[in-house]
Each structure stands twice: as C-alpha cells, then as structure tokens.
Amino acid sequence: MPLIEVTDLQTRFRTDDGIVKAVSGVSFSLERGETLGVVGESGSGKSVTFLTVMGLLEKTAETSGSVRFDGEEILGLSMARLRRIRGQRMGMIFQDPMTSLNPVKKIGWQLEEAVLLHNDVNRKEARRRSVAILEEVEIPRADTRIDDYPHQFSGGMRQRVMIAMALINNPEILIADEPTTALDVTTQAQILRLMGRLQQEHEMAIVMITHDLGVVAELADEVIVMYGGRVVEQANVDNLFAKAEMPYTWGLLGSLPRLNLETTRLEQIPGQPPSLLHPPTGCAFNPRCAYAFDRCREELPELRPAAQEHAHLFRCHLGDEERARIWAEKKAAFAAAAGSAA
C-alpha cells in the first residue's frame, strides 16, 4: 500500500472575479522511502496541491477528490484529527526559513513546543530530543545554539533548524516546498546531502517541490511536472530526462542554463503562465506551445501512457512519431552544445 495516494484532487478558490481553479484533477501516489519531485512555474498549482493534501488551506477553499494517507482518507477530516496526523506523521519545510520561524522565541522553545504538543513527555525530555535533532542536522554546538534566536543563525543554518523542526517527531513523510531556492549553491549542496542522508536513516518519503530541474535530477525517484493546475507529465526521473514527452517539459529543459553545455541563446518558453481564473480552452499550454494545432485549442489532452514506457504519463495531442522526431532534434542540439563547450 502506498504511503500517500492522491486521486483526482481539485482545489478551487471563490474570488470576487470568479472561480480560480488552482488544482484540477491531480493524482499520484508515493511509497515509503521514495522521493517525489514536483516541478512547475509559479502559479502552476504545485504548492496549493500539497497545502490541500496537508489540509492547510483556508476554509474558503473548495476541495474534492481523495487523499489517502497510510490507507486512511484525510481530505476533509476534522481540524483536531488532522493536527494529530500532521504533527506526528508529516513534516513540512517552507522556502523562506526566516518567515517560518518565530523571531521572538528561542529556537529551543519552538522545537520543544512541537514535541510537547504531540508527545506525552516533560520539558526536560523535550529539550533532550531537541538537542539531539539539532545535532542530527549537523548544527555545531547544538547544546548552546538551542538557546539562540532565529536571527542569530545564517540562512543555511536556519534551513537546518526548519528541517530539524519538521523531523523532530519522526514523520513518515517530509514535504519540502522550495527548501533551497533562497540559498547559495554551496549551502544548497549541504542541505540536499543532509536531506538524502536523513531520508535513508529514517526511511522517510520526501516530496520536493521546486522549479529547479537540477535539484529534481539530483534527488527525486519520480517526477511530476505541473502546468496550469494539472499534471502534464509524470515519470520516473531517468525516463523523464532521457525522453521527455511533452512540449512544456522540453521548454523547461531547454531554458535551463546548464553548466555542462554552452549555447549562445537559451531556448525560451514565450509568454506567461496561464491565468487560473480564465484558463485557455483545450490544452492550457497551447498559447505558448510552438507545436500547437487546432485540436490543442479545442480539446484538453488526456493523461496518457508513453509508447514504450507505460508508467510514463503525459498530456499532448501530438502523434508519437512527431514527438519522437522533435525530441531527437532537441537531444541532438543539447549534445552539440555540450560538445562545443568541452
């Protein structure tokens, strides 16, 4: 049984201007100990999907579908019940560690609070556990740093504190929303390595929400690409990078300035992400897609399996042969650019 199984998740917000369809029919599942990478631009619905999964949205959001966590339906559970599950079995890390820590409380207090709320222990034991978890996330002199305030830590150290806080009750799943976007590359490498190590030690499932395909390539087992509130491609990480099937994923790969290749011009995806208030008809990507034809503007493509690899799903009306041809061209262009750089 998968640890988490999401089926046909829908999230809508009623606003004065109309209904915003933030998440439309998202389905995926995640096993224990696996990492799911979720990629997409701002406004693609990737964060809202996981806020919905965790039940962290405002009451005004309308949700439907099913979220089964360890076999139990958790969408629409009562606040109290959800809080128990979230506190003990799920952990979440946000992008900006400064705004997600309380600046006027010592980090020790903030860590102990999480222990005391969900475990029947006294403060002394809570403190012992807090020091232990800080040591585990490699904060030097954890027994004295625990009495510091968030502003006394650097950005990378704060993100470690956030990870410690998410892990303190030994969760089964860790949801990380752009955990390294605000950090330097060197610190990012430290944090990614730390997350990988902790995942192995705790046999934890990780959801990595990011717009950086490099981070996904590094850490993820499975990847979903989101666009306009829908999953547009879903595959094992090796398959996705070896043979991407969907024009939007091609665009993302092409627009990445990569260290191992040199091009004079990056391929760019023209235009802006779609409005979720007035989404385009048909395929949401059609206004920005170089290969769009009439059918793309009229009919939403179904999520269908790739020809060779049935676990690889994507949405696109283009025929298999045509997509194979375009992808071969793109791959050749990447390889040529990499060759000229070497």
Partner: protein, 348 residues
C-alpha cells in the same frame, strides 16, 4: 576595443561602532578588500560568490552609490573615485543598475511610464512628448506592450517587472549596466527570457555588463570573463573557459561541483565537493588565506600564515588565482582534492 572600466585595488570598509553620541569604533568590516579588474567595452564581467562575499557592495561602489574607502575606479578614461555628487551626475548617464528584486525596486505608486521616464527627467532629456515616445519605444524593445504605459507595477508578473527595470536602465543609453542578481528571483523559464533579452540588448546597443549572481550556470551563460569572490577578495579570475574548464582555486572548484546537474546519470556520476560551514564573519576574517578554515586542501603552517597573492596560471596571462596549492586538474574527487602534492620539502 578600449577599456571602459578599470578598477584598481578597490576597498570598502564599514566601521562597526557602539554608542549613539560618543561613538566608539570597534572594528571594521572589510566588505570589499582589494578588487582589481578591467573591462572592455561590449564585454561582460561575471561576478560570483556566496552571500556575504561583497559582490553587491562592490557593485554599489562602482556606481558610486557607496563611497569607496580606497583604490581607484577609472570609467571611460576618467578617474571617478572621488568625484563630487555634482560632477558625478553627467557620468551617471553612462552607468545604470538593474536590481535583484523586481518587486522592491519599482515604485508601487508610480505608473510604468513615469518609472521608465524617470532617468530622462532627472537628466533633463527631451520634452514630455519626446519622453513618452521614447518610453513606448523602450517598452517595445524589452518586449512589453507599449500600451501598458499607464499601468502600475503590481499589474505585471515578476519577469515583466524585471523587463521594466531593464527598460529604465536603458532609457538614457548607458554604456555600462551593472546587473545585481537580475534573475535570481525568477522562475527558470522566465530567467531564460530575461537572459536572452540582456544578450540581445548587448549586441544591439554595444552594452557593457557587470553581471553579479550566485548561480554559476547563469554567469557562464552571459559572461566573457568571470571573477570569483570570497570574503571581499577575488580568489580567481579568468576567461569563461579558464574558469569553468580548468578552475585553479579550490573554492571555484567547490562552487562548480555544488551546482545540481539536470541530468540524472551525469549528476550521480559527478564528484562533488561539499564545503562545510558558512562564510565566516567579515568582521574578523580568518588570517592569511581567508578560505583556509573551509578549504579541503588546507595546509597548516602555510595557508594560515602566508597570504597567497593573485598569480597568473601557467596557461594564459589573464587567468589569475590566489592559492598556494591550486588544483592540478578538473574535475577532481573529494579524496583527490585533499591530497596536496609537492608539499614535501616546502614545509617539513
């Protein structure tokens, strides 16, 4: 091509004081400590380093938004290091800045038209009608709809706002544009749009860029020369090829190997050097080589005693590095990098 900008031994120290009335100087933060480079017209210098390495302070000194503590800045054949505000004014027409955060760097209460026209107004260029025409032309150049002249910044997305910032920088035909992390707040797909735009503009208008970023991929894509900074000092400088194919300084190597590769097989196969700890405080920087406490090649008795000078690499004259034990080849694994050769005899 002539040198547009020549910087020698630029320094910027910030005093650290205590007390309000009787201020006592406790020490100095040496944010920029001895940066020298020259930049040809039409070329791009990329500057990389972790946060706190002084790259933004350096940019602000170059634009004379901060008063340098020492050194000289020669811009377009003129020493501008100590020019007064008034004599600086005509020179500011030739150097503009583009900032990191497109949300914070545009006045939320002004319309796009007047934001872009502001440099024209400040420098008294053209009448109202000329300015309006110029602004619409600029909006078109940076890929925005000229009819959006009367909109407010909040009506635009992050990438579009960065385009507005670029239009503003272009408005008075500057020679030099200093871009301080112009794409780090943007999504990859939008990043590509902005990087391509900056490249096109460079060709069309013969612009010279100083491009500051912490993302080595981005810097590689736009730069001709690259400077790597650590705690206020350049540790390595060279052409793009020198630096990315044959880095000499262990810090450059660590930065290069830290970047995630968007290719699962290559990513897993690569040899990564993960630096430990954070950048130390610039208030009390480590002695001698400032990188020594984090350096995988640290040699006691040498690196913490004797400060390495910027020396030219054997290959070419303009590839400089400051390290006693430079990398012999690239890429190197974590074990290899720790094995410092040619040590016997020198210290023992």
């Amino acid at each position: 091509m002539s040198e547009l900008l020549v910087v020698e031994n630029l320094q910027k120290y910030f005093p650290v004081t205590r007390g309000v009335i009787f201020q006592k100087e406790l020490g100095q933060v040496k944010a920029v400590d001895g940066v020298s480079f020259s930049l040809e017209q039409g070329k791009t210098l990329g500057v990389v380093g972790e946060s706190g390495c002084g790259k933004s302070t350096m940019a602000r000194c170059l634009a004379r938004l901060l008063e340098p503590t020492g050194g000289t800045i020669n811009f377009d054949g003129r020493d501008i290091t100590h020019l007064s505000r008034k004599s600086m004014r005509p020179i500011r027409r030739d150097m503009m800045m583009v900032f990191q955060d497109p949300y914070a760097s545009l006045n939320a209460r002004k319309r796009v038209g007047s934001i872009v026209a502001e440099p024209l107004e400040v420098h008294g260029i053209g009448g109202d009608n000329d300015r309006k025409r110029r602004v619409q032309e600029l909006l078109e150049i940076v890929g925005l709809n000229p009819e959006h002249y009367n909109r407010f910044p909040h009506e635009f997305s992050g990438g579009q706002r960065q385009r507005i910032g670029i239009a503003r920088a272009l408005s008075i035909n500057p020679k030099l544009i200093i871009c301080d992390e112009p794409v780090s707040a943007l999504d990859v797909s939008v990043q590509a749009q902005i990087l391509n735009l900056l490249k096109d503009l460079q060709q069309d208008f013969e612009l010279t860029y100083i491009f500051i970023a912490h993302d080595l991929n981005v810097v590689r894509h736009v730069s001709d020369r690259v400077m790597v900074m650590y705690l206020g000092k350049p540790v390595e400088m060279g052409s793009k090829r020198d630096l990315y194919d044959e880095p000499k300084h262990p810090y450059s190597g660590a930065l290069l190997s830290a970047v995630p590769i968007a290719e699962p097989t290559a990513g897993r196969a690569r040899k990564q050097i993960v630096l430990e700890g954070d950048v130390p405080s610039p208030l009390n920087p480590p002695a001698a080589c400032r990188f020594h406490p984090r350096c995988p090649r640290f040699v006691d008795g040498k690196c913490n005693v004797d400060e390495p000078e910027l020396t030219p690499a054997s290959g070419g004259g303009d590839h400089l590095y400051a390290c006693h034990f430079p990398l012999e080849r690239w890429p190197m694994g974590e074990d290899e990098i720790r094995r410092v050769p040619a040590l016997a005899g020198s210290t023992e």
